[in-house]
């Protein structure tokens, strides 16, 4: 046919929605593939990581009280943060009206751990056992100063909703290793303490403009781990099977008439749905985990929906080949009563996080699993509200904060990047969220500049037009 070559090529590319320079023509074949969760394309180069477990600490944990040790602050108690340090940083409406910005040194003691001597706060005794496995980035920064835009930026590379989540990009780029499970799963846990739980949105694990098959599937702790998984009341598995068989027969007759590959795809999707109906409950059923597992993860781990229970679930998902597991824990927004708030949060998360690392390590899975722990921004060195020797609050701070990485391809036992004496500005090796995402994609074998999707006339990327791989954190 004589459609001009440029038209033909462009059109097909636009129709499939993948740029010729990004995900290639191979995508066409897999788009029509009946295996929904199959990989869209092979990795772009040899991956170090097969999957990511992202332990998302929503609300913004204080770097000053957990990771970024500032011994010099003790002498600065209640002194004003020098204006030269503060610079022109925007403040949130919660402290913009404060007359003073008194320095609040952390009440927590810091110690060195492991062979590497990594400094960590006393509030993370369990995580500290893995000091030689984790790499703390102390110089992460973001632009956003409010939770929603900041979390959206962290998850999608953009402050305004509507773009695909990191996990959706990975699902799009790599697919799932398990034909019966989605590539991207979100788990939400609730803090045990009385805190202001941070908001989460469907779109944080949404597929944005990517096809909806790449969206994260939220597993919940209710009787249906996945929406609409259970048969309606009165429908036995046998009745369901009979219905499926006959619907498939009718669909095949329809396919014979119209030859529409979508019909064939639908037949296959119903089969996959059927398999999910047994695979997912089996996965979510923790009752057959040995008793010592619950001991390792701590007392909360037997309660469905807690961070500890979700950490066990995350390991089970990882074992079954799920590519991207996003586990959310809320409650880190300590504008006031920070010391007690942090204690409560660490009670919920520290032991299970360490248990997860231990289990992954014990099973040899830490070698190909990238674990990320962190929130959407940091907190201020100055106190929000009243400052006393043992109590203070901290406001949002985007200019620097700490997260850690562990596992596949990560050089553990190091702190990367430096902040000034007040943990207010970065003085060495800044890492933007785009850099973090570029690095994580790199570990998965994906070039962040090539993982693109054409939408509204533009090739979009998780890292927008930014992102540099942070090589020093790599093993």
């Amino acid at each position: 046919m004589s459609l001009s070559p440029s038209h033909n090529e462009l059109s097909r590319r636009h129709f499939i929605g993948r740029s010729a320079t990004g995900i290639g023509a191979a995508a066409l074949a897999s788009l029509l593939s009946p295996r929904l969760f199959a990989a869209t394309q092979p990795p772009q180069f040899a991956p170090k990581a097969k999957r990511i477990i992202w332990l998302t600490q929503a609300g913004a944990p204080s770097q000053l009280d957990l990771f970024d040790y500032k011994p010099g602050l003790a002498s600065q108690f209640d002194k004003d943060l020098p204006a030269s340090v503060r610079g022109e940083q925007r403040l949130t409406g919660m402290t913009a009206g404060q007359k003073r910005f008194p320095v609040a040194p952390s009440v927590f003691k810091f110690h060195q751990h492991g062979r590497s001597g990594l400094w960590l706060s006393e509030s993370l005794p369990h995580t500290a056992r893995f000091a030689d496995d984790i790499c703390v980035i102390r110089s992460l920064h973001t632009e956003a100063i409010n939770h929603d835009p900041a979390m959206t930026l962290l998850q999608t590379g953009h402050q305004i909703g509507g773009r695909p989540a990191f996990g959706a990009w990975v699902a799009y780029g790599l697919g799932s290793e398990n034909a019966d499970l989605p590539a991207f799963v979100a788990l939400i846990s609730r803090p045990s303490g009385p805190t202001n739980a941070q908001p989460l949105h469907e779109r944080m694990w949404g597929s944005g403009f990517l096809p909806s098959r790449h969206q994260g599937v939220r597993f919940s702790s209710g009787k249906d781990p996945v929406l609409f998984l259970s048969n309606p009341p009165g429908i036995t598995p046998e009745r369901r099977r009979a219905m499926l068989d006959d619907a498939a027969t009718l669909n095949r007759l329809q396919f014979a008439e119209y030859q529409d590959p979508e019909t064939q795809a639908r037949i296959d999707q119903y089969e996959l749905a059927f398999r999910m109906q047994s695979a997912v409950p089996d996965l979510a059923d923790l009752s057959r985990e040995p008793a010592d597992i619950f001991d390792r993860y701590g007392p909360e781990s037997k309660k469905p929906g807690t961070y500890a229970a979700n950490c066990i679930l995350a390991r089970r998902l990882a074992e079954r080949g799920v590519r991207f597991i996003q586990l959310y824990h809320r409650g880190w927004d300590q504008h006031n009563n920070l010391p007690s708030g942090i204690k409560s949060q660490c009670h919920d998360t520290d032991q299970p996080t360490a248990a997860l690392l231990a289990e992954l390590k014990g099973r040899g899975m830490l070698d190909d699993t990238l674990v990320i722990w962190g929130g959407e921004f940091g907190r201020t060195v100055y106190s929000q509200g009243v400052l006393t020797k043992d109590n203070y609050g901290r406001d949002h701070h985007p200019r620097c904060y700490s997260i850690w990485l562990a596992g596949a391809g990560i050089k553990g036992g190091q702190a990367y990047g430096e902040t000034d004496d007040f943990s207010y500005n970065i003085v060495k090796d800044p890492v933007h969220i785009h850099d973090l995402n570029a690095t994580a994609l790199h570990l998965l074998g994906l070039d962040h500049t090539k993982l693109t999707y054409r939408f509204q006339g533009r090739d979009y990327r998780l890292t927008d037009v930014h992102g540099e791989i942070v090589k020093p954190v790599l093993a």
Partner: protein, 834 residues
């Protein structure tokens, strides 16, 4: 124009090494060129001999070169721009990228062919790569004189009448079939009557036909196929459900939803805007007026309430109510969204790309972006209190007063009874009463207000029986008449805000001040005497000189019928967009759309538009369009759906699979999975539960536990009662943060940004939803009753419109009736438009 020798002369300025390198490259060039030519010949035997810039060359340059050698000054490398002929042929430092007629002397050719990794263009790190065919196209383009053309979509549409095709009167078919004939392909046969009535019903009103409608149509078709079809189309276009179906098409573009978004995601009232859209489409409000009222209805002289409601279009942006935010940041973000949405929806241009820098591909400067921004930066964002005009305010007020009198009388007549009840209130009983009631009980009887008595009776002795009935109605009327409905609208500030360019789109970095204006590449903007406003912008958009809007809209309508636009990139008519598959048809449709009347060749019946829908009051300022009105969407729909191209079968054929597997040429129709809302509507209609009620506040059909409550504020979802449980999908309340799962899973948009084309995914979660969602299960149990009462065949017809074949019936008969009903609702055919 530099000559070959002139170009050589300039080489003298080079040092020896450069010359050597240059010579080496020339040699490489010749070898590679020969190889390229051979490869290109092998791959693409049949190609037009004359290279056309817009069709053949610009897409290559735009995709591979313009990012660094295009319109954006700041990003331009080596001072070279290839988006203009002057730029491409200019000589800088002795080097000329394009020497017309002389590819061998053109640096561009040398650089794309070289194997030197340091020199090759596009550079390796860009990730771009030219194919052998593309390189050859560029070479021949230069050889043929390197002529440039203005990008097609910036030129006015040209009226080219389609060449006659024997046996084909309809102009759309002539365009399509002339092209098919050139490819030696034949169109498909007409779809059978049952398929056709289902298709056109789903496309025009979003509901399947009833079995009686099918029978009547099949019978009428036997007598007069065209006449029966014309009548059918007219009936559907006159149906008030037409406005619902096509209203949703527009609401996608308007990014409509019922909450504020961001983390708090509080519910908002803006459904009056949704109803305005439905009413305007039902009244066939001309599209130019439809545009003006939405962008600037409040600025029209003596603006009516309806015209103000219309400005809700640009209030469908998110509002951040999180603590500690800088409100200005989010106001600016919403204006960014309004600029981008206006550009995408009406101009089909990615205007938003120029927010941070000059557009990389299209000739839109960053400054021009902020001139558009200036039109949309001067608004106050109030809410408007409205009384539903359809509610019949005067009658309702009378009823309200009458009921109030009755209630007062009831209270008076039952005072003793109440006193007795109060006397019997033990402390235990008091504890079980609501605080509101106990508070009122403490008030001496004679001092109680009417409202207090009302509450007291409702919570006590009047909880059942006649008082309850009267009281419920009273409360309902009170809400309707006195609490009022509000809707979000636009209002111009008396004093315009100052608008500046924001460096890199950052609102904390204002730069040069700008005044309202439009991009220079498009038709001129006629400056009014005073400060230009949104109204001037709206008028500029619907100006007959605008080459884009009509094309963009007809293309988006076309896309709905065939699954793909004539321009496939329906939201990008710029340089990065695809070229139209049928450019002449696109132009012809665009001109027809704007033209009053028409030449009557294809017009298959008028008068439909004169029939005002009964359910909605005609919007006050909408003149009766009449058959001679331009910009009629209903005429456009009629034009397209009466073509053979639309009416033909969608069955694939072996020769088409081979020659046009993606159906660009439309030798057949296209099967399309239904939109999420319509998946629901079809199941409701098939199971006999559908409520045909139009408009009104959004409703809350059942959703699973745990869907709500991820946000910062726990939202309740009080399931609607009665017929509101069975309303069409477009009336379901949509929280942006937690959209209804059964719609979301079928790719319904989330309302965060404009959606000009829905994705149609096919996933196991859809299967789980249709099988197990309690809503769909309820529909299945209702369909089971139909099977029991009217038989399997009827149920089958209600789902698919056609009669089952014997083997299909045999399969279904093996199942129990509930299972058969579930199988029917889960069929691919049920959720697909053939």
């Amino acid at each position: 124009m530099p000559t070959e020798s002139g170009a050589r002369n300039t080489l003298k300025q080079f040092d020896v090494m450069t010359i050597e390198k240059h010579m080496k490259r020339r040699l490489q060039f010749t070898i590679v060129w020969l190889a390229t030519l051979a490869a290109a010949r092998g791959a693409e035997p049949a190609r037009p001999t004359k290279v056309e810039f817009s069709r053949d060359v610009r897409p290559i340059l735009s995709e591979n070169c313009f990012a660094c050698h295009g319109f954006d000054k700041a990003a331009r490398k080596a001072e070279l721009r290839l988006d203009t002929r002057a730029g491409a042929t200019a000589t800088t430092d002795g080097i000329t990228a394009v020497v017309p007629g002389k590819p061998n002397a053109s640096e561009l050719i040398a650089r794309i062919l070289t194997s030197d990794v340091d020199d090759v263009m596009p550079p390796k790190k860009s990730g771009k790569h030219l194919t052998a065919t593309q390189k050859e196209t560029l070479r021949r383009w230069i050889e043929q004189g390197a002529t440039y053309q203005r990008h097609w979509s910036f030129e006015s549409p040209k009226r080219v009448m389609p060449s006659p095709v024997p046996g084909t009167a309809h102009p759309v078919d002539r365009f399509i079939q002339a092209r098919l004939a050139a490819e030696k392909l034949a169109p498909s046969r007409l779809a059978d009557s049952a398929t056709l009535i289902r298709r056109v019903s789903l496309d025009l009103i979003g509901l399947p036909p009833t079995t009686a409608e099918v029978d009547a149509f099949v019978a009428a078709t036997k007598k007069d196929a065209d006449g029966a079809y014309r009548q059918l189309v007219d009936r559907l276009l006159a149906s008030p459900h037409y406005g619902e179906r096509w209203g949703r098409w527009w609401l996608d573009q308007a990014r409509y939803a019922d909450s504020n978004g961001y983390s708090i995601d509080a519910p908002r009232q803006i459904w009056k805007f949704r109803d305005w859209v439905i009413a305007a489409l039902n009244a066939d409000m001309p599209f130019d007026q439809f545009t003006i009222e939405q962008l600037a209805g409040d600025l029209l002289p003596n603006a009516t309430e309806s015209q103000k409601i219309a400005t809700g279009f640009h209030r469908n942006t998110q509002i951040n109510q999180e603590g500690g935010i800088d409100k200005e940041q989010f106001r600016v973000d919403s204006v960014f969204d309004r600029v981008a949405t206006t550009g995408t929806v009406w101009l089909g241009l990615t205007v938003g790309c120029a927010q941070c820098h000059d557009h990389k591909f299209d000739p839109i400067e960053q400054k021009e972006y902020y001139r558009l921004f200036a039109f949309l930066n001067n608004q106050d964002e109030p809410t408007l209190k409205v009384l539903d005009p359809g509610a019949g305010a005067s009658e309702l007020t009378t009823e309200f007063k009458a009921i109030e009198d009755k209630l007062k009388a009831y209270v008076k007549d039952h005072a003793d009874e109440l006193a007795k009840w109060e006397a019997g209130l033990t402390p235990e009983i008091m504890k079980s009463l609501s605080p509101a009631i106990t508070k009122i009980v403490a008030v001496p009887m004679e001092k109680r207000t009417f409202a207090q008595n009302k509450t007291l009776f409702a919570g006590g002795i009047g909880g059942v029986g006649p008082f309850r009935l009267l009281n419920d109605r009273h409360t309902e009327l009170d809400t309707l008449l006195n609490q009022g409905v509000t809707t979000m609208v636009m209002k111009e500030l008396p004093k315009p805000r100052k608008t500046t360019v924001f460096i890199k789109g950052d609102f904390t970095r204002p730069a040069d001040e700008v005044t309202p204006g439009t991009p220079a590449v498009l038709h001129p903007f006629e400056k009014p005497a005073g400060q230009p406003t949104r109204l001037d912008l709206a008028r500029w958009i619907v100006s007959p000189q605008n080459p884009l809007t009509a094309r963009v809209i007809v293309n988006r309508v076309w896309q709905h019928y065939f699954g793909r636009g004539i321009v496939e990139t329906e939201n990008d008519f710029g340089l990065q967009g695809t070229a139209p598959s049928h450019p002449e048809l696109l132009d012809w449709l665009a001109l027809e759309f704007q033209k009053p009347g028409g030449d009557g060749v294809w017009r298959l019946g008028d008068g439909v538009r004169n029939e005002a829908p009964k359910t909605f009051e005609r919007t006050a300022k909408t003149p009766d369009p009449g058959p001679q009105t331009a910009w009629s969407l209903k005429s456009l729909h009629r034009l397209i759906v009466t073509s053979h191209t639309y009416r033909q079968s969608s069955s694939d054929r072996p020769e088409l699979r081979q020659k046009d597997p993606n159906n660009y040429l439309l030798a057949r129709q296209q099967r399309l999975r239904l939109d999420g809302e319509i998946v629901r509507d079809v199941a409701l209609a098939a199971s006999g539960l559908l409520s045909p009620k139009l408009g009104g506040p959004p409703v809350y059909p059942p959703i699973p536990d745990g869907v709500m409550g991820q946000g910062q504020v726990k939202r309740t979802w009080a399931v609607s009662k009665g017929e509101d449980k069975f309303r069409r999908g477009l009336y379901t309340f949509v929280y942006r943060a937690s959209p209804p799962p059964s719609l979301n899973v079928f790719d319904a948009p989330d309302g965060f940004s404009t959606c000009t084309r829905r994705i149609r995914s096919n996933t196991p979660l859809q299967a789980l939803t249709l099988m197990n969602d309690s809503g769909f299960f309820e529909f299945a149990t209702a369909l089971e009753k139909i099977i029991q009462k009217d038989g399997l065949e009827t149920a089958f017809r209600r789902c698919t419109t056609r009669a089952p074949k014997s083997d299909e019936l045999a399969v279904l008969k093996k199942l129990d009736t509930l299972n058969a009903a579930r199988a029917l609702l889960n069929l691919d055919e049920t959720v697909t438009r053939e």
